[in-house]
């Protein structure tokens, strides 16, 4: 199952990368398709974060003291203030771990 998944993912990612490098392909993405795909990164990445933040241990947690929520807000603030992705990741993770041990 895992190897099938790896092979499938590898094939799909390669096809995405290679598709438009093929000279025999006359197709072009329409402007609507491009615009829609332009939302793939924010849309998909957000959808993955949502349940991790608001459903730790598969239980809905909408409390403001949820360390995942607080950590995410810290990360957003840091990115907006510093514009440094790596630094924001590392500092917000550190704050998350501190919060989690305090709030536990």
């Amino acid at each position: 199952m895992i190897w099938l998944l790896i092979a499938g993912m590898g094939t799909l990612v390669f096809l995405n990368r290679y598709a438009f490098l093929e000279p025999r392909l006359p197709l072009r993405l329409g402007s609507n398709a491009r615009q829609f795909l332009g939302f793939a990164v924010p849309g998909m990445l957000t959808a993955i974060c949502g349940p991790i933040i608001f459903m730790p241990d598969h239980q809905l947690d909408l409390s403001l003291l949820n360390p995942y929520l607080l950590g995410s807000l810290v990360a957003i603030a840091l990115v907006l203030l510093t514009r440094r992705v790596l630094l924001s990741m590392l500092v917000s993770m550190l704050i998350f771990f501190l919060l989690r041990s305090w709030l536990a």
Partner: protein
């Protein structure tokens, strides 16, 4: 390899060094998360060696842990890596005239970082050996960091209790936040966030894909409405 080609290759390899180092946490994470999700070391390394797409790897591992099925992970992979279609389209003028083995080789190596470094060259300036140096160096770095992550993940006990899943959130939040520069993207993120939690709460198998598509659709509609008004 003639001397000019070797020179271009080394030039490319050197140019990608800073980005290769910046990707270290991702590689470590990809390796250790694979172990945490009960993949074998070989499977964890295989993901980096065969798929070679950081976000898609981390997401697939996260979804595996959440018990998602094969089809929804593959559909998510397809959607998550669809920006590569645009990279391919953009690099079509320089890469599509190359022989098949070069097209396939450089196509395999076409990451965000590869695109950032090589897309600025036009047909006259583009050097395939330079591009190969960029791509191969990044590939080797990504796989080495994954290997370190796998070793660390195997030797540090209770890695799953360190809250490593927050590192996915921290990473993605740091990647998403700079993208939210206009109303359509904000709407996309808001719809995606709300529906992903709602659908997961409802125990939908395809919660993440459905939420992602709804968010993308909401952003797209919003953009169309804004265009129509201006």
């Amino acid at each position: 390899m003639p001397q000019l080609a070797r020179h271009a290759f080394l030039h490319g390899a050197l140019a990608i060094v800073p980005l290769s180092l910046a990707v270290a946490p991702w590689g470590l994470l990809a390796g250790s998360m694979a172990i945490e999700a009960n993949l074998t070391a070989l499977q964890g390394q295989g993901l980096s060696a065969i798929v070679f797409a950081g976000a898609a790897q981390l997401v697939a591992i996260g979804m595996l842990k959440g018990g998602a099925n094969l089809a929804s992970i593959l559909l998510t992979t397809l959607l998550l890596t669809s920006q590569h279609l645009l990279y391919g389209l953009s690099m079509r003028p320089v890469l599509s005239p190359l022989p098949l083995r070069w097209r396939m080789g450089l196509g395999f190596l076409l990451t965000d970082e590869f695109f950032a470094l090589t897309s600025r060259y036009d047909q006259q300036q583009f050097n395939r050996w330079y591009a190969l140096g960029v791509g191969l160096t990044f590939y080797v770095a990504w796989n080495l960091f994954t290997l370190v992550g796998i070793i660390v993940g195997q030797n540090i006990p209770h890695l799953d209790q360190l809250g490593l899943d927050f590192s996915i959130v921290a990473t993605f939040v740091a990647l998403i936040t700079p993208l939210v520069r206009n109303l359509p993207t904000l709407v996309c993120v808001a719809v995606s966030l709300f529906t992903s939690v709602l659908f997961t709460h409802w125990h939908w198998e395809t919660a993440l894909v459905a939420a992602g598509l709804l968010g993308m659709g909401a952003g797209f509609v919003c953009q169309k409405l804004a265009e129509g008004r201006s």
